[in-house]
């Protein structure tokens, strides 16, 4: 990964890095890339991907409305809230 690709990944993940962090992350990517050819061995071509180690069950609750927490409880940890709403900057000018 080069700096251009990293800039794109940063934008996608809503992150920014300092210059020293950028150097460290690029070095990290270069090191990780050294191991990746192991995944390209022909032996894996015919093997089914194993997404999970156990059979997954879709967890769905009954289709009944419930209110496990109040609005006040849910907003207790909010960085900013007012009038029962989470406060964010204006989205439309």
């Amino acid at each position: 990964m080069d700096r251009t690709a990293l800039a794109s990944a940063l934008e996608l993940n809503q992150l920014r890095l300092t210059e020293s962090e950028t150097e460290a992350v690029l070095a990290f990517f270069a090191d990780m890339a050294k191991d990746e050819p192991a995944l390209l061995i022909k032996e894996l071509d015919e093997i089914e991907p194993m997404i999970h180690v156990v059979d997954l069950v879709n967890v769905l609750r009954e289709d009944e409305a419930s209110q496990p927490f109040t609005r006040e409880e849910l907003q207790k940890g909010a960085p900013e809230a007012s009038d029962g709403c989470w406060q964010v900057p204006r989205l439309l000018e």
Binding site: M1, A5, L6, A9, L10, L12, N13, Q14, L15, R16, L17, E21, A24, V25, A27, F28, F29, D31, M32, D35, E36, A38, L39, L40, E43, L44, I47, E48, P49, M50, I51, H52, V53, V54, L56, V57, N58, V59, P68, F69, E73, L74, K76, G77, A78, P79, E80, W86, V88, P89, R90, L91
Partner: protein, 381 residues
């Protein structure tokens, strides 16, 4: 974090990546510095119902991604949970093992840790990071104490789609070891802890086990596969932190984009950022087929290789980490955690149980947890 700890008989400390009510859950990150959950993890509820006391929270590396807790935003010792268990501050601890940190810590502090078979302990209430491999386990001074606490927290949870159907599990500690086959993984006999493996092998031989060397070259493939899968899952799971509904919010923003970027960038450490970016990369259109998809195939290959190994040995024996001691300084390079994970990744990526005892790692096939705990119990001094 130590401030929460009280000296109580039967008291259990809980990793700070496990949700509790009444005290904060930070996951070792500035992002969750002041976060208190509205509900507690199923494992904590079950533990309390069985009569254990929640003594407090133990510090972890940011989201549990690192080697030994070195990336914790708060000042904390390496392997905090294993340390206080070894010092007798608490009877036991619940830890989340997603990249081997509790196993390494237990090996370094000479206590017992079990990462049970994936699916036997509910993950409801674990701060999610690498869900397909993370599992709540137990650290204790002895295999008996670990088994008792594990029996209390294990069992089906309808809220966890990966939870096995058995309602409860029992962990006998008296399974005879005579005639059991133990294989020392040749490829992992490196570093400063091979002597401990030889010591454990001698104890198992004395109990009648047949100990041989076994080759499992797929441990390297497991490491590579797990680093890809862990990063991909972490990237997705940590995308929820944006400074809007809970957690850290930057003070400097003019618009919503600056709020997101500032909050995430100021609150997350370098390892978390690097893993997120790597995860995003391996999931990208140009890399998915050659990286993420191949890692999923590698997971099955490793599982098949382990099945073959378990045809030759009931227990696989290896070191749990490279060195006999670590300093925070030497764990700073980003790659150290991945170099270390060669010892632990094969159990993480396949969900098989692993026990640390006598400073070494013992691994067995799915649902063979009791055999591992028996081996630990019967070889304790």
């Amino acid at each position: 974090m130590d401030a929460y700890i009280t000296k109580l008989d039967g008291a259990v400390a809980v990793d700070d990546t496990i949700l509790t009510t009444g005290c904060p859950t930070t996951a070792g990150s500035r992002m969750l510095e002041n976060f208190t959950s509205l509900f507690e993890a199923t494992a904590v509820t079950k533990m309390k119902a069985a009569g254990y006391t929640l003594a407090g929270k133990t510090a972890v590396g940011e989201f549990g991604l690192d080697t030994l807790g070195e990336t914790c935003f708060f000042d904390a010792p390496l392997g905090a949970a294993a340390k206080i268990v070894s010092e007798g501050e608490v009877m036991a601890a619940l830890n989340v093992d997603l990249n081997g940190a509790p196993r390494r810590a237990a090996a370094l502090y000479g206590v017992t840790f079990i990462k049970p078979t994936y699916g036997t302990v509910s993950r409801v209430g674990v701060v999610p990071c690498a869900c397909s491999g993370e599992q709540i386990g137990v650290t204790a001074k002895s295999a008996k104490e670990a088994a008792s606490l594990l029996a209390a927290i294990a069992g089906h949870d309808p809220g966890d789609g990966t939870s096995f159907s058995a309602g409860k599990y029992e962990y006998a500690l008296d399974i005879p070891l005579a005639g059991k086959r133990v294989g020392i993984i040749r490829e992992l006999m490196t570093g400063e802890n091979t002597g401990k493996v030889e010591t454990m092998a001698a104890k198992l031989r004395a109990l009648g086990a047949e100990v041989t060397d076994i080759s499992l070259p797929e441990v390297s493939l497991a490491k590579t596969a797990w680093q890809v899968l862990l990063a991909a899952e972490t990237c997705n799971n940590l995308s929820r932190y944006d400074g809007v509904k809970f957690g850290y919010r930057t003070e400097e923003y003019k618009n919503i984009e600056e709020l997101y970027v500032g909050s995430r960038s100021e609150s997350m450490g370098l390892l978390a950022k690097a893993v997120i970016l790597y995860g995003s990369d391996v999931l990208s259109k140009g890399r998915y087929d050659d990286c993420y998809d191949r890692a999923l195939r590698a997971r099955r290959r490793v599982r098949e290789a382990l099945a073959g190994a378990f045809g030759e040995a009931d227990i696989l024996l290896s070191p749990a980490c490279l060195k006999a001691a670590y300093t925070k300084e030497e764990l700073k390079p980003l790659l150290s955690v991945y170099e270390e994970s060669v010892y632990t990744a094969f159990a993480s990526v396949t969900g098989v149980p692993a026990v640390i005892s006598g400073g070494v790692q013992m691994v067995s096939d799915t649902l063979n947890d009791a055999l591992l705990l028996s081996a630990a119990a019967q070889t304790e001094v």
